[in-house]
């Protein structure tokens, strides 16, 4: 497996109601590359935002089956949503990441 480059690790910040609540506990959530490891994520976040990461949790969001009707009675198309890997990064207390506060 080819080594991931650091800038490929983080894909985008996930700003949702739940994650905004977590940010009060210095936890910030990113969507990351499916192959990224916790160590890589830590390095990537520290490098990109100049903060100290104390903890990283990751999880894979499994694709959901999506079925869609086409042409009234003619049939249905089966498919699925894409899979996503999320990383919840805990920072040193009091540190913040700007992009979460300015979309």
């Amino acid at each position: 497996m080819a080594e991931l480059r650091l800038e490929e690790v983080l894909r985008r910040p996930m700003i949702t109601e739940k994650n905004t609540l977590l940010s009060e506990q210095d936890k910030f959530t990113f969507e990351v590359h499916p192959n990224a490891t916790k160590i890589m994520i830590k390095a990537a976040v520290e490098d990109a935002f100049g903060v100290n990461v104390t903890d990283v949790h990751t999880l894979n969001v499994k694709p959901k089956a999506k079925t869609r009707m086409i042409r009234r009675g003619a049939g249905r198309i089966h498919g699925s949503s894409r899979s996503v890997k999320k990383a919840i990064v805990t920072l040193k207390p009091g540190q913040r990441i700007d992009i979460f506060e300015q979309i």
Binding site: M14, I15, T16, E17, N19, T20, Q102, I103
Partner: protein
């Protein structure tokens, strides 16, 4: 809030209001919060997005300034009105508004105008003489007689004023028939509204004779219908018959028929009384109007447009109601008069303005003369109308009950109010007349009710009517 006021012509008060910075920011904050409750941002349930995100979602605080300003202006305006003790007589109008650096706006609000009253104490008006002459009485008597008159055929005589004529006629313009031929029209010469030229020609005919003549109506002949002005018309008129009026003899019987009195002398007396009463009332109004008009000449009232418009609307709706009662729709009326509603308003306007002025003048005088009506005054008036309390032992039960119920009606809020207004007006106008006539009174030889009871009865009747109307 900083507030400065400036008075403009037309009784417009200009309020320049500047909001404190904190005040404005608070308003913006609450505007954002208001908005935040309804906004849907991806990743958040509706209304759950944090405030700073809502702000950014819309592109910054400034976006909310307008919304905030509207709310705040309303609040500040109300406060200004209260602080400055302003009583607006119309809707305020926003003339300018700024949001930077903080909310500053100017509103123009129409207020009750200052009444610069002319010197009403210097106005002098001569009283009107209400004395009734014998001629006045005879004239009315004559009119009554004529109403009772009968018509008798006369032969071989040309008709004169006061005669009734029966006429057939046709009208042509050139060879064209101008209007449908008329047969058997009955006119009374000098009483029916006839064209003067036509009447002269008719008086020239003997019964049975047909006259042909051409009449020309001048363009500016006010007595002719507009559609015949400037036209040369050919008339063919046949005088079918002439009748002469026979007046009934003035007898006691006639007097009885006319007015339910015993003798002609009594009839005369009653007519005299009626005329006298009418003249007294008219005279008083005439004097009063003269005084008010004179005061109005030297009084300046800068009426605000809003008040005039309101009064115009008021009178317009009155007229509409009147018409409705006569069973005519407003649209019909407009069509008939060939006028638009706006034109009608322009017509009403001068009158509306005059009324407003006069009302204000009266109010101002009332203020200066300290004219007020107390509850006790109203009580006294009610006693006067309802009569003294009846003693249950002496009067019969029905009368006592009736008196009690009368009192109840008079003591109702509505009627007390009517009485109060009535008394106020009477007191005020009496005072004005007293000043202007130097105590001589508006009317010389004024009519006075023969006895107290009759007067009380009369006002009681009027009161009952008012009470009926109220229900």
């Amino acid at each position: 809030m900083k507030l400065t006021t400036e008075r403009k012509p037309g009784s417009i008060l200009e309020l320049s209001i500047t909001a404190d910075d904190a005040e404005f920011q608070e308003a913006v904050d609450s505007a954002i919060s208001r908005q935040a409750r309804n906004v849907q941002i991806p990743g958040f349930r509706k209304g759950k997005a944090p405030r700073h995100m809502v702000e950014r979602f819309y592109g910054g605080r400034e976006v909310f300034a307008q919304d905030a300003a509207e709310k705040l202006m309303d609040k500040l305006y109300q406060q200004a009105i209260k602080d400055e003790d302003i009583s607006p007589v119309g809707d305020p109008e926003l003339t300018s508004m700024e949001l930077e650096p903080t909310l500053a706006f100017v509103v123009a609000v129409p207020v009750y105008p200052e009444v610069e009253l002319g010197d009403y104490t210097a106005v002098r008006v001569d009283p009107v003489d209400a004395a009734v002459t014998d001629d006045d009485v005879e004239e009315v008597l004559g009119r009554l007689q004529r109403q009772r008159g009968t018509w008798k055929d006369v032969e071989d005589r040309k008709p004169t004023a006061g005669d009734q004529v029966t006429i057939d006629y046709t009208v042509h313009e050139g060879d064209e028939e101008f209007q449908e031929p008329v047969e058997g029209a009955v006119w009374v010469l000098g009483e029916t509204n006839l064209l003067e030229q036509l009447r002269e020609r008719i008086e020239d005919l003997t019964p049975g004779e047909t006259g042909e003549f051409e009449l020309f109506f001048e363009e500016d002949d006010e007595s002719a219908d507009p559609n015949i002005r400037g036209k040369q018309l050919k008339y063919s008129v046949t005088l079918q018959g002439v009748k002469e009026r026979e007046l009934p003899e003035l007898t006691d019987e006639l007097a009885k028929e006319l007015a339910d009195v015993e003798t002609v002398d009594e009839l005369r007396e009653q007519i005299r009384e009626d005329i006298h009463q009418g003249k007294t009332g008219d005279g008083r109004n005439e004097v009063l109007n003269k005084i008010i008009d004179t005061v109005a000449e030297t009084t300046t009232i800068d009426l605000p447009e809003a008040m005039i418009e309101e009064e115009v609307e008021h009178q317009l709706s009155h007229r509409k109601e009147d018409l409705q009662r006569q069973g005519i729709s407003w649209e019909q009326m407009l069509m008939f008069g060939g006028r638009t509603e706006d034109e009608m308003k322009d017509d009403i306007r001068p009158d509306a303005e005059r009324r407003l002025r006069n009302t204000m003048i009266l109010q101002e005088i009332a203020k200066r003369e300290d004219i007020e009506i107390t509850d006790e005054d109203v009580d006294t008036e009610i006693d006067a109308i309802a009569g003294p309390d009846l003693n249950p032992d002496e009067a019969d039960a029905e009368a006592v009950e009736r008196a009690r119920r009368m009192r109840e009606v008079y003591n109702g809020d509505y009627f007390r109010n009517v009485l109060k207004n009535d008394l106020f007006e009477r007191k005020l106008t009496n005072r004005i007349i007293e000043i202007a006539t130097e105590g001589k009174g508006a009317v010389l030889n004024a009519w006075a009710p023969a006895d107290e009871e009759a007067a009380a009865e009369e006002s009681a009747e009027a009161a009952a009517e008012v009470a009926d109307d109220a229900e």
